[in-house]
Structure formats: C-alpha cells, structure tokens
C-alpha cells in the first residue's frame, strides 16, 4: 500500500532540479540527522576529536613524543595546576615523565585515528576486491575465498591481529620494530577485519549480478571488467561504507587493545591504548588522571563514531525504515 504511494511519487517533478547543496540539505539524511539529538551530539564529538587530532601540533602545549620537551620535574602534576618550577599549565595533569596528559591525548588520538582509518581502508579494499571476485565469478574462487573467511571468523579478530602482529614482527629485525609499529598494526588489524567486507560485497554482488540492468549490459556484450567496475561496484558500495564507519570504531578499539596489551605502539609514541596501559599503573596510587582522561577520550571517540555508523546504516537501509 505504501508501495503505491512511493510509486506514484516516482514520476518526474516538473520543477527544475535545484543545486547540489540545496538537494543535499533537503535530503532525507539531513532531515533524519536534524531530528536526532544523540546523532548531532555524536557528530560534534567526532568532529571535535578529529579536529583535535588533526591540528594537535598547533593546539597541544607540548610534543609528548619529544623527550626534550618533557619536564621530569613536573611529573604527576594534578589537573588544572600550574607548575611552580616551569610555569607550565597542565589542563589534565601530567604523568610520571612530566608528559602533559592533554597533549598526549591529542597526539595519541592522532595515532589511533590514523591506524583506524588506514586499517579500515586496507580491510575495505581487500574485502571488496575478494568479495567482488567471489560474488561475480562464483565457482571455486568463491568457495576458496569464503572458506578462508569462515575459518578466519572462528578466531576472535583480536587474536587474529595478535597472531598476524607476532608473525610480521618475527620477520623483522628488532631494531626496526618501533619504526614500523604503525604499519604492522595497520596490516594486522586490516587483515583481521576484511571478512565482513568480503561477505557484504559478495552478497550484494550476487544480487546486483542477477538484476536486469547487468543482464542488459551483458546482452550489449560489454566486457566483464566494465560490467564489474562501472555497473556492479558502485551499486554495492553503500553497505560497504556503512560497515566501514562502524568498522572504524572497532579498528580504533582493536588498536587500543593491542597497544594496551603491549604489542602495539611503544611508550615513546603512545596511542590512546598505550596511554591507558601506562595509566593503569597509577590507578590506585592517587594519580587517577593519567588513566581516566585517555580512557574517557577513547570511549567518546569509539562511541560517537559507532553511533554515527549505526545511524548511517539505518538511514541508508530502506528496509529498516
């Protein structure tokens, strides 16, 4: 019945198409966004944290990665204090090295976000490529790829990341570990996470492949690569982007977990996870701020990105509306 309504709505409107910005502002996405305070809040938090991470060198009072800038004498300054020795103001306190916690969070979320984005992109590219191949070609390629995916799914992804992390490090000389830590993390998290992209893309590809516009392209005689990249790929990207947004939150947490376990970023280049690992030593000795603020930052980041992802999924999936 509501189908009837939609169908009649589909006939062309007489008015001239408005500009792209106008169209966007009038779209269902913006409408839905405006009506959900939680989503607005999540957007603001996400944007603030992204901006903080991006502009860290200009915002942060201190470069926490540079040992020269650390004032050991200011160690364990509580939040909102000005040091009697150096005159530095510590908004969120400082840690045992005299590292400003606020600066460390800004720089740390920079690393967390970098690893998160890169890992998601890596997983997305790998998963999409394999999923397209499995769904489009079918046959033994499909069977092989999906069986590998099944096997990988039986391991928790953090265990998978640990394993991959360990294997890669095993092949590298010890001296390089700190330098390549970021890349190893990205590869490890990305490799542990491609399966869900591959599954989503494979399913969507099989659906699109059967649709008549693809058959029409085949009747014309278009070569496979053209059908695959011009027709199918753009039409399967929507679910992938949604998974990617939710995946970003998961990747940030995965990075934090690895770093917390001590297999991620070294203490000299702390990510949020590393900060939490370092901070937990002081949890019961009175210096609560060293743990609390990085923890809250991680929570806010992961939660708001995840909320955005969930909202995006609901808005873009007409079946749920």
């Amino acid at each position: 019945m509501s189908q009837d309504v939609q169908r009649t709505d589909a006939s062309p409107v007489a008015a001239k198409p408005p500009g792209a910005l106008r169209t966007f502002l009038a779209s269902d996405i913006v409408y839905s966004w405006k009506r959900q305070p939680v989503v607005i809040l999540a957007t603001l938090v996400t944007l603030t944290m992204f901006a903080g991470a991006l502009f860290a060198p200009w915002i942060a009072p201190q470069n926490p990665f540079d040992p020269i800038e650390l004032e050991l004498i200011d160690a364990f300054s509580p939040p909102l204090t000005t040091s009697d020795f150096t005159g530095n103001f510590y908004l969120l306190g400082s840690d045992s090295q005299g590292r400003d916690v606020f600066s460390a969070i800004l720089y740390g979320s920079r690393i967390s976000l970098l690893v998160g984005f890169a890992a998601v992109l890596f997983a997305l590219a790998l998963g999409t490529a394999l999923g397209l191949m499995a769904g489009f070609r079918g046959g033994w390629r499909d069977a092989l790829i999906m069986r590998i995916a099944d096997v990988q799914l039986t391991f928790p992804s953090i265990l998978m990341a640990l394993l991959i992390f360990g294997v890669i490090r095993g092949f590298l000389p010890r001296s390089m570990h700190a330098e390549v830590a970021i890349i190893v993390l990205i590869v490890a998290i990305g490799l542990s996470d491609w399966v869900q992209y591959a599954r989503a893309v494979r399913g969507a590809t099989m659906v699109e492949k059967g649709k008549e516009y693809v058959q029409a392209a085949r009747v014309i005689g278009l070569p496979d690569h053209r059908i695959l990249f011009q027709h199918i790929l753009p039409n399967v990207m929507r679910p992938v982007l949604v998974i990617g947004t939710i995946g970003l939150a998961l990747a940030i947490i995965a990075e934090a977990t690895l770093s917390f376990l001590g297999v991620g970023m070294p203490a000299t280049q702390p990510s949020l996870g590393t900060l939490i690992r370092v901070g937990q030593d002081y949890m019961f000795s009175g210096e609560w701020w060293i743990l609390l603020f990085p923890g809250v930052a991680l929570l806010l980041l992961a939660l708001s990105v995840n909320l955005l992802g969930d909202w995006l999924r609901d808005v873009l999936n007409p079946k749920l509306r």
Binding site: M1, D4, V5, T8, D9, Y31
Partner: protein
C-alpha cells in the same frame, strides 16, 4: 452517493466519505478522498484500479492495517451497523479473523512457516470459537476438504512450504473462513498464481463465500478477475471512487471516461485491433492531484468546469459515475475524439 444499500438487507460493510491521509515532511498527502460504498451480505464487490489508485489502501483502512504515518482522517466505516473506524487497536484485534477474514496476494506471508497448517487452523478456530482441540481438528479437516485440498487428513500435519502456490492459497482461504466471518477482504488473491490456477481459486472463493452469505471485497487490478467474480465494481482513480455499479454495466457500458479508456486499452481475445486505445499520460502522484476532477488532464472530454469543480458520483445508466458528462441538470457535451472513434467495441 445514495445511502440505500442494495436490496433490503442491511449492508455488511458500509464505508462513508472515507479519507486517508499520509503526512510527510513536505505536505500531507490525501491517499483516499471521499470514498463511499456498501457491500451487502453474499455480495462480491470488486475494487479495481491501477497502481497508486488507492484500492489496496481502501482494504487496509477497513481492517485498520494502514502503514504509519497513514491514518483515517475522516468519514466512517461500519461493520454490520457498528462503527469500527474509531476503535482502538486492542478493540479491533478481535474483529480480525472473527468478523473480517483476510486473504492477501502472497499466501506465504499469511501462513506461519514454522507451524503445520493443521496447527494454524486449530489455533485460529479455537481463538475465535468455543471448541475443544478435538472438535477444532475435525472442523479443520472439513475446511480443508471444502477448499479442495486432496487427502486432507494426510496434509493436516504438513508445513506451508510443502504446498504448491495454488494449494497454499486454498489453505489461506480455509484460514480466512475458519471463524465464519461476515466479511472477507481479498487483496489481489490470484495475482501471484498461474492463469490455470487462478480460475480454480476464484471459483472456490466465490463458491465458499456464497454458501456462507459472506460479503467479499475483492481488490484487484485485473478486470478479467472482476468480470468473472464480482457482482458490483468500484473503479478507483487517484484515491477517489470514480465509478460504481453492477459488473455488467461497468464493463459493458463504462460511464466514466477513465473506465471507458481503461476497458478499451485491454487487449481482448475476441477481436483483433491493430492498435490498442491508449489513455495518454499517467495517474498523478498523490502530491500533485489536479484540482477539480483528478482525471481532467487526461480526459478527452474535459472542459473548464472539470478543472475547477469536482464531480460527485452521479447516476449514469445503471451505475453511478463521478463525471460532469452525467450531470442531470447541465450535462457536459461529449467531444468526438480518439476515445470515441476507437470505441469500446466489446
């Protein structure tokens, strides 16, 4: 429209000036506007129209299954004299199944795939009628026999997926009839079926309803189905009722220009025309229903009056049509046009 029900009996279903609105964030769409009709006991009323005409919505409004945000915004619906459009959901639930039976297009969605059809029949029977498990099972068997399921005693414990499409629709009919409802609403009951099965199901539906004296509201897009099954037809266009009358009248002598065009555009088996008559354009979107008569931009006879003044249902031959051609005081002249020359030669 005349408020006298057909025959002397009180109508089973009486719909008066029904209006259904869909508020959207741009505007409030009027999905049904001023729809009135009656169905007498034992009568089959066919509700016909193209997609977007509002035929399914009429059925859904009667059984209060409008998809939100759609809602009844005016008029009234009476079932055996009792007003039902203002009932709260919890008061309406007992009516479904007991007094109003429903048959939908896809039998699979009406049957629970996890329960055997025997269980589903027994459950429906016992929910509405005071029966023991054993009595209900016996009754279920009778129902299945009645709707033509071969060897029903062996099929009672089968699951919906073990039936063919036609057999499933028979089971759905048995379910709809189980509590002997006074009104059956059948929404495109044969659209998903092959032609050879269609005929069987329509004959069955007609027979079992006639035997019980149940009134039937048959919603379909298929004029052939209407011609075979219905006693009276209501033709809908853009959320409005534009013609209603006995089936022979409406099909043989359509009075509204839209019905005329519709009938002439159906290819027939009897004769062969080189070209089919075509109504230009398409049904308007709900957001852009023209003022006056909704059909006026496509109508070959349209005059100034049609663009400003909306016609009520007016007596026209044996039926009633919402068209100024049939204004008793000041009939609009017919224009000789393609529509006339191609004439409805059936």
């Amino acid at each position: 429209m005349g408020h006298k029900p057909d025959g002397e009996r009180e109508p089973v279903l009486s719909v008066r000036r029904l209006r259904v609105e869909f508020p959207t964030r741009h505007a409030t769409l009027v999905a049904l506007d001023d729809v009135s009709f009656d169905i007498a006991p034992g009568e089959v009323l066919g509700v016909v129209g193209e997609s977007g005409a509002g035929k399914s919505m009429t059925g859904n409004a009667v059984i209060q299954l409008l998809e939100p945000p759609g809602h009844i915004a005016g008029g009234e619906i009476r079932l055996m004299g009792r007003r039902i459009d203002d009932l709260a959901e919890e008061d309406f639930v007992p009516l479904r199944g007991r007094h109003i039976g429903m048959i939908f297009q896809d039998p699979l969605t009406s049957l629970n795939p996890l329960f055997s059809i025997g269980d589903q029949l027994v459950e429906t029977l016992r929910a509405h009628l005071p029966m023991s498990e054993k009595q209900a099972r016996g009754r279920a068997l009778e129902l299945l026999t009645e709707v033509g399921i071969p060897a029903p005693e062996t099929r009672l414990d089968s699951y919906p997926h073990q039936f063919s499409g036609g057999m499933r629709q028979r089971v759905v009919i048995a379910l709809a009839l189980a509590a002997e409802p006074e009104l059956i609403i059948a929404d495109e009951p044969t659209t998903a079926l092959d032609v050879s099965v269609q005929a069987q199901i329509l004959a069955l539906l007609k027979r079992v309803c006639a035997e019980r004296g149940a009134a039937v509201m048959l919603v379909t897009h298929d004029m052939g189905v209407i011609a075979e099954t219905a006693d009276r037809v209501a033709v809908m266009y853009a959320g409005r009722l534009i013609e209603i009358g006995p089936v022979k009248e409406v099909i043989g002598h359509p009075r509204h220009p839209y019905t005329e065009g519709l009938m002439a555009s159906i290819p027939g088996l009897a004769e062969r025309r080189e070209r089919l008559y075509q109504i230009e354009g398409a049904m308007p979107r709900l957001a852009a229903i023209p003022p006056g008569c909704a059909f006026n931009p496509r109508c070959p006879h349209a005059a100034e009056r049609c663009r400003t003044e909306r016609p009520e249902l007016l007596p026209a031959g044996g039926s009633r049509a919402a068209c100024w051609l049939h204004d008793p005081d000041n009939p609009l002249p017919r224009r000789a046009s393609a529509g006339d020359s191609q004439e409805v030669a059936r």
